[in-house]
Amino acid sequence: MSKNKIIRGRPAWGPVVEGYAFVCPDSIVGWNGADVKTGVVTEKDNVHYGDSFAGKIIVLPCSRGSLGWSDMFRNSEYNGVGPSGYVFTTMDSKCGTAIFNTRRPCVADFPADCDPCVEIHDGDYIRLDGINGTVEILVPAEDK
């Protein structure tokens, strides 16, 4: 996504947060896909295997796998290593419960012609507005 481009979804939960994007185009498997003490992805086939989502804005298409999915983010949050914000291409019940648990800003339900997992690149510095439902790229990863 180019600098200052804004994409719009549904405002799911506020307020506003800025941070580096952590994009997982295939989501993360529930229950044991991440170490909740460090925020490190432990799913071996994941593009972010070995990386930590702590303090980053996580960008996912949806949830995947066990209904322990939301617990993974609840426990990461309680341990101080959860994401600082959430972008979901499409809201589902597990994603909703993750926001319910963490009360972190979230934008979801983007239109069919806008896939945040494509528009936002890993490492982009972005501004997530959970009140107005926008995600703005402030510094593209390639400019850093």
């Binding site: 498997v29 298409p61 617990d71 809201m91 589902d92 319910f100």
Partner: protein
């Protein structure tokens, strides 16, 4: 803005107690997060009620952690899942909601075979007893439909088990979504959930069509088919299964849904001629065009077999069947196939079922026979959930794509995948012979 009924408004005003008031406020927050505008009554709830500690809490397998043993029901449940709710005010789940518990970290009856301590086991028993005091039926299973927890067509339910969401929506025609532990806990207290997603008839139609051109004779075929379908799904997709497949039974369906759930976020799958809402292809699609179509062949199934099965034959010292928990019918099948043959000395072979199936199989002397032959019959969990059950294993042999997939992320030892019969054969010989499933 959420529209409440007069009854819900009275609950929110505190007329029915502080617990329901707090839980309902949280469910209203959940509705806002999801984008729902009203609530529905929940008459069936299925959720974890025991200690929710995880294998990762005990990296060296030592369960003697005073901090965890000091935790009780309110620490694991009330405070964790409904922060802000005063435990002293929480005396009962909603009276018109039938609540059954999900799996937990211990076996129901013993701690020895699972390599736990009596203190750890008794701590969990007390937590479950405190849940029962609040109106929970202790079924302790990932397959509550085997134990009489059965929402009927059109009935609203919540559950913390992803394969149960699929079974209840797709085969029973009930209406629900999973969410997770916290939202399910709150829904079970106030008896309400956001009216959203698969509660709405307009969302219950097929989107992705799968033409089955692979083997569908065995349970393993359906397990791998579940993975193949799940890996091809978009968010919130509803797959339609059609083609010339062998009619699946309960055992194949619950296996299929488990693999489908672990590889996707899918919560409704319409199987033409099997699902009540998909007696025909046209009925399944509800007048909509497919977003995408796929044909699943044996070659595709083989790729998923390759993904989870270790490549070289070798010794196997921990074998397990039971994901989801085995039905009584599966216990009979295992008993028939064993037919008096004994598990090799030094090999640990267990079958996970639930308490209700166990009780029936006990009356049919199946439990005693299997034990005499060296098989341990466990309840209330699985290798991913029952802490320490496979501690010290040098290799695993499993008949579940989900368990292999999950175990792969937790262990570095060889993991073998195959049919129930292959698992039993390996338990008897102590050796796993790797054979390509499809040629």
């Amino acid at each position: 803005m959420i529209r409440l009924t007069p009854y819900e408004q009275r609950m929110l005003d505190g007329e029915f107690g502080a617990a329901k008031q707090v839980a309902l406020q949280k469910i209203i927050d959940y509705a806002q997060i999801l984008g729902a505008e009203e609530l529905v009554p929940i008459t069936k709830a299925h959720l974890c009620c025991g200690s929710t500690c995880e294998p990762a809490d005990f990296p060296d397998g030592n369960l003697d952690r005073p901090d965890i043993l000091a935790m009780g029901y309110h620490d694991w449940q009330t405070k964790l899942k409904c922060p802000g709710l005063d435990p002293a005010t929480f005396n009962s789940f909603n009276e018109s909601t039938y609540v059954m518990d999900d799996v937990h970290c211990c076996d129901t009856f013993q701690w020895q075979w699972t390599q736990q301590t009596k203190e750890f086991y008794e701590n969990n028993r007390q937590i479950l007893s405190d849940a029962a005091d609040r109106g929970v039926m202790i079924g302790s299973t990932c397959a509550p439909y085997l134990a009489g927890w059965l929402p009927v067509m059109g009935e609203y339910f919540v559950t913390t088990e992803s394969s149960n969401v699929l079974y209840s929506n797709s085969i029973l025609g009930a209406r629900g979504y999973g969410g997770g532990g916290n939202t399910t806990f709150c829904a079970a207290i106030c008896g309400r959930a956001p009216k959203w997603g698969l509660h709405l008839p307009e969302n219950r139609h097929g989107t992705h069509v799968f033409h089955v051109a692979c083997d569908t004779k065995d349970k393993t075929d359906w397990d791998l088919l579940g993975a193949a379908v799940g890996r091809r799904l978009a968010p919130n997709a509803v797959p339609v299964i059609c083609g010339d497949f062998d009619r699946p039974d309960l055992i194949k369906l619950k296996t299929f849904f488990t693999a489908l759930a672990v590889t996707s976020g899918c919560e409704l799958c319409l199987i033409v001629g099997v699902s009540p809402e998909a007696q025909t292809y046209e009925m399944a699609m509800g007048g909509h065009e497919p977003v995408a179509e796929f044909t699943i062949t044996n070659e595709i199934l083989q790729t998923y077999w390759d993904e989870v099965c270790h490549k070289e034959s070798g010794p196997a010292d921990y074998l397990q069947i039971g994901c989801p928990n085995c039905s009584a019918e599966e216990l009979i099948n295992i008993w028939r196939y064993m037919n008096g043959r004994k598990v090799k000395e030094g090999v640990r072979f267990c079958v996970f079922t639930n308490i209700a199936q166990y009780a029936m199989a006990e009356q049919a002397h199946i439990i005693q026979d299997l034990k005499d032959w060296g098989v341990e019959i466990l309840t209330s969990g699985c290798i991913l959930r029952t802490i320490n059950v496979a501690k010290g294993a040098k290799s695993l042999g499993l008949s579940s794509f989900k368990l292999c997939n999950g175990s792969k992320d937790e262990r570095d030892c060889p993991i073998y995948y195959g049919s129930d019969e292959q698992v039993i054969d390996a338990a008897i010989s102590g050796y796993w012979e790797v054979k390509r499933r499809y040629e």
